[in-house]
Amino acid sequence: MRALGRWLAEHWIAVGSPIVLLVVWERASATGLLREAFFPRPSTIVAHLRQLAADGTLWRHTAATLARIGWAFALAAVLGVGIGLAMGLWRRLREGLDPVFAVIYPIPSVLFLPLVSFLVPPGEIALVVTTAVTSFFLIAFTTTHGVRQIDRLVVEAAVHYGARGWRLFATVLLPGALPFIFTGLRLGLGFALIVVVAVEIVSASRGLGALLWLSWQILKVEDMYATFFVIALLGAVLSYGLAALRARLLPWVQDVAGRP
């Protein structure tokens, strides 16, 4: 209780500011100061959120989005870490792929949807692959950088003591690059969410992005706000949750990008 009091004394502004905002918003919409058609009251939005959750709509769309993020992230993580490690280890591979990556990486990932839909059967697989593209590059980049920043002395010492092949990889290179790999994975997961929403807006009938876009098209403004809230919640859980997980599971591993 004392601890809570102290915490509140320290953070009262951070706690109070959203509460004040919500109350002012509620009053402003109720009295017509804000147009309720555009800015529905927070209480109305909560009611719609509960209704969407009660009839199962919300879960269905959230599950679809989560499944896509999961597959895309798995795909990007395996390929990104694998190729990133290889690029970190072999200079020729790195020099060969660098210019290719440099051109492809800054292209917004939604644009890959047409390309991907030519390559793989359109539908679910195309959505997942498109979602994975940017995450893949991000993870590969950070992993490469992670391997390259390992102290050469450490590697040489390990080699002198007879570590080769798999042992060198598992006991020196992988642990050395781990902070960077982890940062890359966290950023990659964040990007997967960003891209999946955009891709769902363009070409899906299920998923939170699709629900948001549909709610706009039929002007269900309250549902728009409710969906947005769920997307934001997902973003917060993915980015802050993963950071907390790292702090708990791998406390010795630093997050090189600092805050998300």
Binding site: I13, S17, L97, P99, V100, P106, L113, G235
Partner: protein, 247 residues
């Protein structure tokens, strides 16, 4: 930068497409794309569409840059401001900004202001967070030295805090510009009826693939120029600091 591998990949693509190992309808040979690119640029419409995207980008960036830096600095030096604003920044930052588009569309109507603002918010949050990070991670000894030599208030800010935060601010602006481009092209792809993003979408729908790849190539070149060019500029202007935000 070695160009052997990209050249080899393009040659392989050309060969496979010419020999119909991959469908030339979906993957036209790069030379065909190249000719279409030259053709469209000569006809003027590719340039015009690029200009539309660039104009939107300029407006979005202009809207985001100054307010973002100012808010970031304010949050850095004034604790109450940081406490009051941080919950919103933390809540909105991980959200795909494209999800804001429908809100801006209903409030502002379908049109340029909604498109540009979506790009601007994308950049804004990144700029705020980088700027704040720059102030927060500055060496506290610099502050103490500055104070001991009699710098207070505005002087401390202009002479010590701002220069110390400058590299992070620049990094924020650079990342912000990139994010604004990504958001704008996505917006064009989804909702606008002009710009490079829309061009890719339209030619995808019409299956005029050479034109689609041509627009695609322009977007790639634009992104490359923006990211690499600004990195070079940053290295040149801020020679005394290493880039903090490079990942």
């Amino acid at each position: 930068m070695s160009l052997a591998v990209p050249a080899a990949l393009l040659a392989l693509w050309e060969l496979c497409s010419r020999l119909a190992i991959i469908s030339p309808r979906y993957f036209p040979p790069p030379t065909t794309v190249g000719w279409v690119l030259v053709d469209r640029v000569a006809a003027g419409d590719l340039g015009a569409q690029s200009l539309i995207t660039l104009t939107r980008l300029a407006f979005a960036f202009a809207l985001a840059a100054l307010p973002g830096v100012i808010l970031g600095l304010l949050m850095g030096v004034a604790r109450p401001v940081r406490d009051a604003v941080e919950p919103y920044i933390a809540f909105i930052f991980p959200v795909p900004k494209i999800a804001l588009l429908p809100f801006l569309l209903i409030i502002l109507g379908v049109g340029e202001p909604a498109f540009v603002l979506t790009g601007a918010t994308s950049a804004f949050f990144q700029i705020v967070i980088s700027t704040l990070g720059g102030v927060q991670t500055m060496d506290p000894r610099l502050l103490e030295v500055g104070r001991n030599y009699g710098a207070h208030g505005p002087r401390l800010f202009w002479k010590v805090i701002l220069p110390a935060a400058l590299p992070a601010i620049f990094t924020g602006l650079r990342l912000g510009l990139g994010l604004a481009l990504v958001a704008l092209v996505a917006v064009e792809f989804i909702a606008a009826k002009s710009g490079l993003g829309h061009l890719v979408y339209r030619h995808w729908q019409m299956l005029s693939t050479p034109e689609m790849y041509a627009a695609f190539a322009i977007v790639g070149a634009l992104g490359l120029v923006l990211t690499r060019g600004l990195q070079a500029l940053q290295a040149r202007v801020l020679t005394w600091q290493e880039d903090i935000g490079r990942v």
